[in-house]
């Protein structure tokens, strides 16, 4: 019986050759038609992005033979919970998309640290828009915030400046005002970007007077939309870096003359009938829809809003867009809006196919991969595209309007990002009351200052 299992030298040789050939054949990125039995699983939550991911996955398979299966889970909250559960259970996909930001989706060490990989491959690293990569890199301000937060994990607190756990997939920018050129022309006005906020309000008043159309619509229901898509940048332009930082850190008050504009503009617009009635109950899409239907002259949005407006049936010729205007007395009136990463790609640390997953992420964020992705997903790429003619028309226009260079604003997202903290929920609720005429701007400012002081005291405990 034993003799049956005896290995002959010929069989041993065949087996050895097979092993060697298999090892040589795998992961040959240069082969034009690779073959592999590796199947990567990729999770994300953006159904609209799936065609883009699939286009890249198909091209990647043709190059390497590696299959990438994309799975989308919605809505956002369910996706976040699914990933958190998977991370706790150690059942993560090979790679996944997550909201961009330092340590976002890293789940206390479940994500591969990409910093060393980027250092090893200078071409890959230098391909990213500086502001995009900046937005996912751990900064000192991040570390300070986590150190002060009793709920932050020890793992988070132990991170170092410069670490990266996910690379940017796309970019976008807020601080964009869309205007209805048709309404402006009907009111006898020129459809152009106003020079200052004062000019902008003046235009709204003129349209309101002539056609009774309110000046502005935005989703006043959505927390941080006004605060983080408009107000913080306006305050930064008006008061400069130092004062803005002090304001965000609550060393300067909302009721201070320099900062009261943040709520006063809402009061003024509401009192003059320039905020579309019902705005406090509108979500983002219905607010954009109201603008597209000509119910208001202007809409607060981001670079990504343009596609929605066109999809909602608005004639592109009727749309004008410009960066949020600055007050006439602003210290940094020409501040550049830099695109920041919206979504990042994360590779699971110690995953079964970590190497292949990283290879796919590299391809997805290469110029070739990003062109395929951007055109399929109608999303702005996070890397420099040398030949922009390969992008579709609207993407070319949007990409051209953004500054790709890093600046103070893009390097200090941890400061402007404080707008998501609990005291700003008080601001948001009070802003709604001001819109509805149930509170004055002065009362709202006083209430916010109290809430901010309470949060500051809590952080100092």
């Amino acid at each position: 019986m034993r003799g049956k299992h005896k290995w002959s030298p010929v069989w041993m040789l065949v087996l050895t050759m097979a092993v060697i050939l298999t090892a040589c054949g795998g992961n040959n990125g240069d082969s034009s038609t690779g073959s592999s039995d590796v199947k990567l699983t990729m999770w994300h939550w953006k159904v609209a992005f799936d065609p883009g991911f699939k286009a890249v996955a198909d091209a990647f398979k043709a190059k390497t033979g590696i299959t990438v299966v994309t799975q989308a889970f919605t809505p956002d909250d369910a996706y976040r919970q699914k990933l958190t559960g998977a991370a706790s259970a150690g059942d993560m996909p090979d790679l996944y998309a997550y909201w961009a930001g330092p340590l976002e989706g890293a789940f206390d060490g479940k994500a591969l640290e990409m910093g060393p990989e980027l250092e090893k491959d200078a071409e890959w690293k230098n391909g990213f828009l500086p502001s995009a990569l900046q937005g996912v890199t751990v900064s000192q301000a991040n570390l300070d915030t986590w150190a002060a937060d009793e709920k932050s994990s020890d793992w988070k607190k132990e991170r170092k400046v410069g670490q990266i756990y996910g690379v940017p997939l796309d970019v976008g920018a807020f601080y964009t005002i869309y205007g209805n050129a048709k309404l402006l022309k009907e009111a006898g006005l020129e459809a152009k970007a106003p020079a200052t906020i004062e000019d902008w309000i003046d235009t709204m008043n003129k349209v309101k007077e002539k056609s009774d159309v309110p000046g502005l619509v935005f989703s006043a229901k959505t927390f941080t939309l006004y605060e983080n898509w408009f107000m913080n940048f306006v305050d930064y332009m008006k008061n400069g870096e130092e004062s803005f930082t002090n304001f965000m850190n609550h060393d300067e008050k909302l009721s201070d003359p320099n900062h009261i504009h943040a709520i006063k503009i809402i009061e003024d617009l509401a009192k003059s009938g320039n905020i579309l009635p019902g705005s406090v109950s509108l979500d983002i899409d219905p607010a954009d829809q109201a603008f597209a239907q000509g119910k208001a002259t202007y809409d607060i949005g981001g670079t990504f809003t343009y596609a929605s407006l066109v999809a909602m049936g608005m004639n592109p010729d009727d749309i004008i867009s410009f960066r949020v205007p600055a007050y006439a007395d602003s210290k940094v009136p020409d501040a550049k809006v830099t695109p920041f990463p919206l979504v990042q790609m994360v590779v699971t640390q110690g995953g079964k196919h970590q190497k292949e997953a990283l290879e796919f992420v590299k391809y997805l964020t290469s110029e070739e991969g990003q062109i395929l992705y951007a055109n399929g997903a109608f999303d702005l790429p996070a890397v420099k595209i040398n030949d922009t003619s390969k992008l579709n028309g609207s993407l070319q226009a949007m990409a051209g309007s953004l500054s790709s260079e890093s600046n103070w604003w893009s390097e200090n997202s941890a400061i402007s990002g404080k707008i998501g903290q609990p005291e700003w929920q008080t601001f948001h609720a009070d802003m709604q009351k001001v819109i509805l005429g149930n509170m004055t701007a002065a009362e709202a400012a006083e209430d916010f200052d109290k809430a901010a002081a309470a949060e500051k005291a809590k952080a100092q405990k």
Binding site: S88, F107, D108, E150, S153, K221, P277, V280, S281, D430
Partner: protein
């Protein structure tokens, strides 16, 4: 003989236990574990994006944060949400008489009862999510309600920002939707209860000289009392645990005017990522519901028991 009977009973009991064992095991694994896990989590700090292994023991901090003002902003939000829950709770006192009245009416009519029953049960059998969107449409600035008011010349009553968009109308408008959705369930309980009353009892009472009030108090009420207790507990539970109509129709706005505790719990857990506080809030509202249910049971307990 006695021994063999008891042996058989023991065998039957063992077989019974064996049969229910999978269900009990499943409950222990899924039901009890999650409940205990949730209780445990309410005593821990767990930040956004952190794993359970990173949770830090917080003692009673999470409870103190919103119950005793340790976190002023959270505490303020919780109090406002709780007050709103109590307003919704008061709606139960409106739902019960309406449900009872409709049940009595349905019992008395003889023609078209099936049609009426179907109509009154519609809110219960229709998808609640769809219903809330319909109500949202009714309450919009250019919705049916405002248009109706304009059509009948009551322009002064029009809510310019929509009925869900004004501070003083949002919660009442939401409560109307809740009442509309709660009536059928309670109505059918009362209707079933009324069906069990033997009509001969009323005839006998009449022959004994009982008036209308005495018939209700002596015959109908003893049957309806336990149903009322159930309705009250159901209403209380529904009011204190309310989430979906608020989330769908207002998300707690405007300016937190319709925020209820469960919406706050959701926001803490899934928007702010603070599972500790979210669980602590969830258990606090559970304790309140439990205590109020016990009080209701005690007040309405049948004195003959």
């Amino acid at each position: 003989m006695k021994n063999s009977f008891s042996a058989m009973a023991r065998r039957e009991a063992a077989a019974g236990y064996l049969l229910v064992a999978p269900a009990i095991l499943l409950f222990l694994l899924i039901g009890l574990f999650t409940v205990l896990f949730s209780i445990g989590l309410s005593f821990y700090h767990l930040g956004q994006g952190s794993l359970i292994t990173s949770a830090k023991f917080a003692g009673l901090d999470n409870f103190q944060n919103f119950l005793f003002g340790r976190d002023l902003n959270l505490s303020r939000a919780f109090k406002q949400a709780l007050v709103n829950n109590l307003w919704v709770l008061l709606s139960t006192l409106v739902v019960i008489p309406i449900a009872l009245a409709i049940a009595v009416m349905l019992q008395r009519i003889s023609k078209g009862i099936r049609l009426y029953r179907t109509v009154f049960l519609l809110p219960m059998v229709t998808s609640s999510v769809a219903i809330y969107y319909v109500w949202q449409g009714i309450y919009e600035p250019e919705g049916t309600l405002n248009k109706l008011l304009a059509a009948i010349g009551l322009d002064s009553l029009i809510a310019v920002n929509g009925w869900l968009g004004e501070l003083h109308t949002a919660l009442p408008a939401l409560i109307v939707t809740v009442i509309w959705g709660s009536v059928p369930g309670m109505m059918i309980l009362y209707f079933a209860g009324l069906q069990t009353v033997d009509p001969h009892l009323y005839e006998a009472a009449e022959m004994d000289g009982a008036g209308a009030w005495q018939k209700i108090y002596r015959i109908t009420w003893p049957i309806l009392r336990p149903i009322t207790v159930i309705c009250l507990i159901m209403g209380m539970n529904g009011a204190l645990q309310i989430f979906d109509p608020v989330w769908i129709m207002t998300k707690g706005g405007p300016a937190n005017a319709t925020e209820v505790v469960n919406v706050l719990v959701y926001q803490q857990a899934f928007v702010n990522g603070d599972m500790g506080v979210a669980n602590a809030m969830g258990w606090s509202i559970f304790v309140l519901t439990f205590v109020l249910s016990l009080i209701s049971l005690r007040i309405l307990r049948d004195k003959s028991e």
